[in-house]
C-alpha cells in the first residue's frame, strides 16, 4: 500500500456486539454482516483519524498472531469490501467525524 488509508465507521449502520461477534447492518440495504474478532478490532478502531497500517500494527498484530505484511493486505481488502457495502468509509485523507455519514448511493 503506497498511500495511507484512513477508515471510519459509517454512522448510517447499525451495530452491536453479541457474545464474541460483532454484528453490523448496512444502512444501504439492511444486509447484516458478522465480523470475526480481527475484523471487529479494525471496526472498533476505525475512527477516521488513525491510518489503517497503524491500526494493524498497534491493534491487530498486538492481539493476534499474524504477520504484519499479510495482516495489512488482508485488512485493506477487508476495508475495501466493507466500504463497498457502505459499512466503512475509506479515504487517503483523515475522515472527520462529521463526514462519517455516507448517504445511500
Amino acid at each position: 500500500m503506497s498511500q495511507k488509508l484512513y477508515v471510519a465507521q459509517n454512522k448510517r449502520v447499525a451495530a452491536r456486539i453479541l457474545g464474541d461477534e460483532m454484528m453490523v447492518m448496512s444502512g444501504q440495504d439492511s444486509t447484516l454482516f458478522n465480523l470475526n474478532p480481527v475484523a471487529a478490532v479494525i471496526w472498533n478502531a476505525a475512527d477516521g483519524l488513525t491510518p489503517l497500517d497503524e491500526i494493524v500494527a498497534s491493534r491487530v498484530c498486538a492481539e493476534f498472531d499474524i504477520e504484519p505484511d499479510e495482516a495489512l493486505r488482508d485488512a485493506e481488502a477487508f476495508a475495501r469490501e466493507l466500504a463497498g457495502h457502505g459499512i466503512l468509509l475509506i479515504s487517503e485523507e483523515p475522515i472527520p467525524r462529521a463526514s462519517a455519514s455516507q448517504e445511500p448511493r
Binding site: K11, A14, L18, S30, N34
Partner: protein, 370 residues
C-alpha cells in the same frame, strides 16, 4: 428475516441477551382505532432525558433491534431527538406509526437518520372502511400521502393491516395498493385484548371460516401446504424448548418505564425509573419465571398435537388468566390451519353446558303426541 439475522436472534436467545426491544414512547394517539388495546391518556410519560437514558441502558444490555412505537410516535415533539439518539447508539431502528403527521420534511429527516424500516397501519384500501376503523375522516388519504413521501425518499416502508370483521374482505385491496406504491404489505389475523384486561374488542376478530381462507390464500401464504400441514409428532426436544422469545431475547418498555416481557404480555417485571434495565433483565422474578417455562410445563398445550406448530402466545395466555395455560385465539388459528381441535378447545367443548331442553306445556304435549 435474513438467515444471518435469524442466526443472531437464535444466538441471543441462547445467551439470554435482549436482542430486540420495543419501546413505546407515548400512548397518546391522533387516531381512535376500534381494535386498539391502549388507553390513550397520558399518565406520566418518560421525559426526553429519561428516554435517552433508557436507550443507553438498552444498548449497553445488547439490544440490537429497537422498535419505537406507541400510541402515535409523531405525537411527541422530541421524536427526532429520540430517533437521533437511538441511531447514535447504533440501534437497528424500526418505527411503527400511522404516519398521519409525516410530511415530506419529516420523511427526509427519517432518511437522514437511516432508520431501518417504517411500518404504517393501513386497514383498507377504501376510505370509508379505513377511516371507519381509525375514527378519523381523511386518515387513509393522509397515511397514504405519507407512505408515498417515505417511499420517494428510499425508506423501507411496510403496510401493516389487522384482519377484523370490519375489513375482512379488504386485505387483497390493501395488498394491491401496497404493490402499486411499491411497498411490502403484512396482515395480522389477531385482535388482542386491551392491556387493562378488557376483552370486549375480541368480538372484532374474524370467524373460523375467514381464518381458514386466510391461511389457505396463496397470495398471503408462501407455502400453503406447509402452513396447513398436520403438525409433526411431539418429541422430547420439542417439549424442552422455551415457548417464545418474550422475556428470553426480547422485551417491552412502556412510556411510563414499565418493563414487560412483550407488549402483548403485560406482566409487570420492573420499572426503569426505579431500577437499572440490566438489573430488571437479569434479576426480575417475573422475567426469570417466564424464562423457566418449557413447553413440557404447559399443562394443556404439552398434551396437544398442535403444539409443534402452534403460534401460542404466552402473553395472550397470561391475559386469559395463566401464563402456562393455552391461548384460545391461537388454538383457533391452529384449528383453522391444521383442522385439528386443540386439547384446550376439546376441554372447552366438553365443559360447555348441554343444549337447553325445551319442556312442552301439557296442552302442547297432547298435540305433539297426537
Amino acid at each position: 428475516m435474513s438467515t444471518l439475522m435469524a442466526e443472531m436472534a437464535a444466538k441471543a436467545f441462547h445467551l439470554g441477551v435482549p436482542f430486540t426491544a420495543q419501546l413505546d414512547i407515548t400512548y397518546r394517539c391522533n387516531e381512535r382505532c376500534v381494535h386498539c388495546y391502549l388507553d390513550h391518556d397520558d399518565h406520566g410519560e418518560m421525559t426526553t432525558a429519561e428516554i435517552k437514558d433508557v436507550l443507553k441502558q438498552l444498548a449497553d444490555a445488547g439490544v440490537f433491534v429497537l422498535v419505537i412505537s406507541g400510541g402515535e410516535i409523531m405525537m411527541r415533539k422530541d421524536i427526532f431527538e429520540i430517533i437521533e439518539c437511538a441511531r447514535e447508539l447504533m440501534f437497528c431502528v424500526k418505527l411503527k406509526t400511522n404516519a398521519m403527521l409525516i410530511g415530506e420534511r419529516e420523511a427526509e429527516r427519517l432518511r437522514e437518520l437511516a432508520v431501518d424500516s417504517v411500518q404504517v397501519s393501513i386497514y383498507s384500501h377504501r376510505p370509508e372502511v379505513h377511516d371507519g376503523i381509525t375514527k378519523v375522516q381523511g386518515s387513509l388519504k393522509r397515511s397514504l400521502t405519507a407512505i408515498r413521501f417515505l417511499k420517494s425518499k428510499g425508506l423501507n416502508v411496510k403496510m401493516a393491516n389487522v384482519l377484523m370483521t370490519k375489513n375482512a374482505k379488504d386485505h387483497a385491496g390493501v395488498r394491491a395498493l401496497a404493490a402499486e406504491i411499491g411497498v411490502e404489505a403484512m396482515l395480522d389475523p389477531t385482535v388482542t385484548p386491551m392491556m387493562d384486561g378488557d376483552r370486549s374488542i375480541l368480538s372484532l376478530n374474524v370467524d373460523e371460516n375467514a381464518l381458514r381462507q386466510v391461511f389457505r390464500d396463496p397470495t398471503l401464504v408462501k407455502n400453503v401446504e406447509a402452513m396447513c400441514a398436520p403438525p409433526p409428532k411431539v418429541d422430547e426436544e420439542a417439549l424442552d424448548t422455551r415457548p417464545c422469545s418474550a422475556g428470553n431475547s426480547s422485551c417491552y418498555v412502556s412510556p411510563y418505564g414499565d418493563v414487560y416481557p412483550c407488549v402483548q404480555f403485560p406482566l409487570p417485571s420492573g420499572n426503569v425509573r426505579r431500577q437499572r434495565f440490566i438489573d430488571i433483565w437479569n434479576h426480575s422474578e417475573q422475567l426469570n419465571e417466564v424464562r423457566s417455562i418449557r413447553v413440557r410445563d404447559l399443562p394443556s398445550c404439552s398434551a396437544c398435537s398442535n403444539v409443534t406448530t402452534c403460534t401460542r402466545c404466552p402473553g395472550l395466555a397470561y391475559m386469559e388468566g395463566n401464563m402456562r395455560g393455552p391461548s384460545t385465539q391461537d388454538c383457533e388459528k391452529s384449528y383453522a390451519r391444521t383442522g385439528i381441535v386443540s386439547v384446550n378447545l376439546q376441554n372447552k367443548r366438553a365443559a360447555a353446558p348441554g343444549l337447553v331442553q325445551i319442556q312442552m306445556q301439557p296442552a302442547f304435549a297432547s298435540v305433539a303426541t297426537a
